[in-house]
Each structure stands twice: as structure tokens, then as C-alpha cells.
Symmetry: C2
Subunit: 149 residues, 2 copies
């Protein structure tokens, strides 16, 4: 493992499929059977849509942490933008090294650069303390409806 300070945040690349990007996401939730082709096509669709920012941290040729943001174009607040932070996860072997904070800081900077007036995210109760360390405060209630497809 590289010295902690060396681990840099960078954008997700198609070649990260071979570096365990999906395996890191699997520490967060179900990823399922995603082929290289499906991954690359989804990455292209996100790039074509614009507004997606996906950051990763690599160590020893493996992705060890990732977080994503989608920038929403609003009509309110003078046609402003909001960054939605999603799918934040650090490999369990790399926790406690402030990698999560580095990812959030990178996305906050990207949101600022994109002209967002705020960033928002949803997390479970146990993770609120982490996001408070990242400078976020609790605001509303997330509601959900799962869809039968």
C-alpha cells in the first residue's frame, strides 16, 4: 500500500473495469452481473449526457474508493444547478485513512466549478457523522418507492 499522502483522486476511466471498480461498488450494494461492454456503454451514456462526475482513488493498480455526482440543471435560483452525490464507498481495507473525505472534497470542488449552489446527498443515520466532518449538515427526509419492473 502506498503511503497515505500519495493516493490521489482522479476521474473514472474505462480501463478501471480491469482495476476492480465494480468490486469496490459491491461493498456498497448489489452490483450484479455487469459485463465490460455494459460498463463501457453506461460510461459513454453518462459522458454523453454530461453532468456526471465519478472520482476514484487507485492504489497498487486497484480502485480502492469511489464517489459520484450528477449535476442537475434547475430552473429555480436563476436557472442554477445542484450536485447530487451518490455511491460513495471505500474498500474496507482502506477505511480510516480519510479517503472518503478526499473524494467528497473533490466532488465539492467539481460542484463549485460547475456552478452548483449546493450539493446534497442521502445517507443512513450511521453515516451522518462522517458527512458532518465533510462540512455537510442534515436537512430533510429521504423518501423512496421501489418499482416493480
Amino acid at each position: 500500500m502506498a503511503a497515505e499522502g500519495i493516493l490521489a483522486v482522479r476521474q473514472l476511466q474505462a480501463s478501471d473495469f480491469d482495476k476492480g471498480f465494480l468490486e469496490v461498488l459491491a461493498h456498497l450494494t448489489t452490483v450484479g452481473d455487469v459485463s465490460r461492454e455494459a460498463f463501457e456503454e453506461q460510461l459513454k451514456r453518462r459522458d454523453a449526457a454530461g453532468g456526471y462526475h465519478t472520482v476514484v482513488i487507485e492504489d497498487d493498480g486497484r480502485i480502492v474508493a469511489t464517489a459520484a455526482m450528477i449535476v442537475e440543471l434547475k430552473f429555480i435560483h436563476g436557472c442554477s444547478k445542484v450536485g447530487h452525490i451518490e455511491d460513495v464507498v471505500v474498500d474496507p481495507a482502506y477505511r480510516g485513512k480519510k479517503l472518503g473525505i478526499k473524494l467528497i472534497e473533490a466532488l465539492v470542488e467539481a460542484a463549485r466549478g460547475a456552478g452548483c449552489y449546493k450539493i446534497i446527498l442521502d445517507c443512513n443515520e450511521a453515516n451522518t457523522a462522517f458527512y458532518e466532518k465533510c462540512g455537510l449538515t442534515r436537512k430533510e427526509v429521504q423518501m423512496v418507492k421501489y418499482l416493480d419492473r
Copy 2:
């Protein structure tokens, strides 16, 4: 005012600028000084990005309710999608007529059609009862960070 059952949900159109679309949004939050040109350009940017669904209800030539959704392309859950519902508002003079539920139902159908495995939204404590009537359940905590621009 038309009979309640007549009011139909439809997609936002550029001409809704002249029908008070922004004035309805102003019942939700600050809209600010948005020119026709700025509105039309943001609408075009949203259309070009894809994944935006904005529904409105019109009565007597005026927009009286609106809600929006942005469909996020995920890598998780087999490269699935999530619908983020945003900016739901009904003109105060039209509240209690189930227009809000009609808008949410339309967006849930759009999310289903787009292949979303769930829809999510953030609301304040006072509005959770309304969304429970729409079939949503409470899940997580929304966190926010406002950005100095």
C-alpha cells in the same frame, strides 16, 4: 376553474414560460430573475442531456402545478437507473385537489418506463405524510452543503 377530473398532466413546453410556470415554482423557493431566453436555453440543455421529465398541470391557460424528475444512470444494480423527483409544487389556490398525487403518479410511470428500479426524493418532515399517500416510505437522511460561488 375546470372540473377537477379534467385537469390533465402533460410535459413542460417552452411556451409555458408565458403561462406562469416560473410563478408556480416561486411558491416553492426563490426563482430569481429568469428571462425567457434563459428559461428556453435551460430547457434545451435539459432536453439535450436526456433523462429530465418535467410535468405540469394547466388550468384556464395557467400552469397550476409542476414536478420534475432526473433519471440517473447507475453502474450498480446491473447498470440500472434511479429517478430523482425534484421541485414538486402546487399553486396554493389549487391545493387539496389531489393534483400533487397526479404529478407524482405520472413521474412514477415515467420512471418505470425509463427502467428505474426506484424513485427517491427529499422533503421536509411536514410533507412526509403527503408522500406516504403517494406510496413512498421514509428511508434515509438528506445532508446538504451550500457553496460559496
